[in-house]
Symmetry: C2
Subunit: 215 residues, 2 copies
Amino acid sequence: MRSVQPDQTAKARIRDAAILRFAQDGLEASVRSIAADAGVSAGLILHHFGSRAGLRQACDDHVQAAIRDSKSVVMAPVGAPAALLAQLAQLEGYAALVGYVLRCLQAGGELTTRLVDGMVADAVEYLDQGVEAGTISPSRDEAARARLLTDFALGSLLLNLPAGREPIDLDELPGWFAAYSERILLPTLELFTEPLLTDSSLLDAYLGSAERTTP
Amino acid sequence: MRSVQPDQTAKARIRDAAILRFAQDGLEASVRSIAADAGVSAGLILHHFGSRAGLRQACDDHVQAAIRDSKSVVMAPVGAPAALLAQLAQLEGYAALVGYVLRCLQAGGELTTRLVDGMVADAVEYLDQGVEAGTISPSRDEAARARLLTDFALGSLLLNLPAGREPIDLDELPGWFAAYSERILLPTLELFTEPLLTDSSLLDAYLGSAERTTP
DNA sequence: CGCTCCACTGAACACCCGTTTAGCGTACTG
DNA sequence: CAGTACGCTAAACGGGTGTTCAGTGGAGCG
């Protein structure tokens, strides 16, 4: 085969360049721009990955594998997942992965569903530990609560993400994450410590009606 | 001028068709597809709006005006804004407006910021009424709490939105909103009624450190 | 009537995209 | 040393895009 090491092949270089471009410019980044970044021709990308969709799939697979290898690092205390992302994005090379995941979440699709489901599963586990430790109160539906908290954390993060469609400066990501997590820390802590509603009449009413419909 | 009434002119017809198309296919819908829907040539759109960006601007302005006219209907009890959207989307013609707003929120940009800020302002007002009525507990930072709750509600709504980039069936929107709001109702009510955290040690720690840094 | 104005069209332009194809050069292989 | 397989490139293809432009036809007006 080639004389060089199995990694840092042109194929891997293209994939890494693609993840970086997709993270910076969005998932609509052109094959030609990726080719220029990788220092190859556009044709070579199609030669290796078959099509643009094949390249996207390869990126998805690689990112998913990277997440699996450094498991459970992405989920965290629900109030401050952004703080962890800030640290993660500072690690060499990981900023591109974080940016790519954000773009995927933004765009939706199959990978998004899998990623979110994975985070929900992690949240279930984390919340369960809290309940057993006595720091988190139990829920009537642990799965639904984990899903809700994950959606809240991820959704508001995406909604506040600076770049709608325009390029993201990956160097600024960690600082942005830190500022965002600090900004939401007080209201989040307050919301999770002191009940928003002063009495349980609304919850009781719902539980009463639900009981009547599904006895 | 023209013989027909000032409304239902070709220009207005193009704008309405554009809002509908943008809502269904996303904000990247082509000028030609909109022209076909409106029954005019692509050139006429450019003639009336100057450019594709001009058409987008006209749509933004029209949607924003429509929201201003039917004010405060979009914001609601934080746990169930989707239920109101479901009702709103059933109204004749309003489904396209709701879909267009969702696309804008998805894509980010200037209109998004203005829309979210408006909803936050409404949330401040609504929460204030609850505090005065005694149903909602006061906050240390009312503005930050309103922002957080709005981000949570909107963000998780967008994250759960079925269409990543593919066309939305506007007829299915009301049903989807209703199902979504019902799905999150129990965990939301629970979260807002019974504290997630069993004690206030985390909040106290934050308040203590904040007090020390900004005495 | 002739004139002008204007909504409006259809074809063309220039550009970007993903993809195809023909071919080049080199490093293995028999 | 020929043969061949393969990484790789450059150019072109076909289709979609926003936009331009010359021109048409009808309504209002002096």
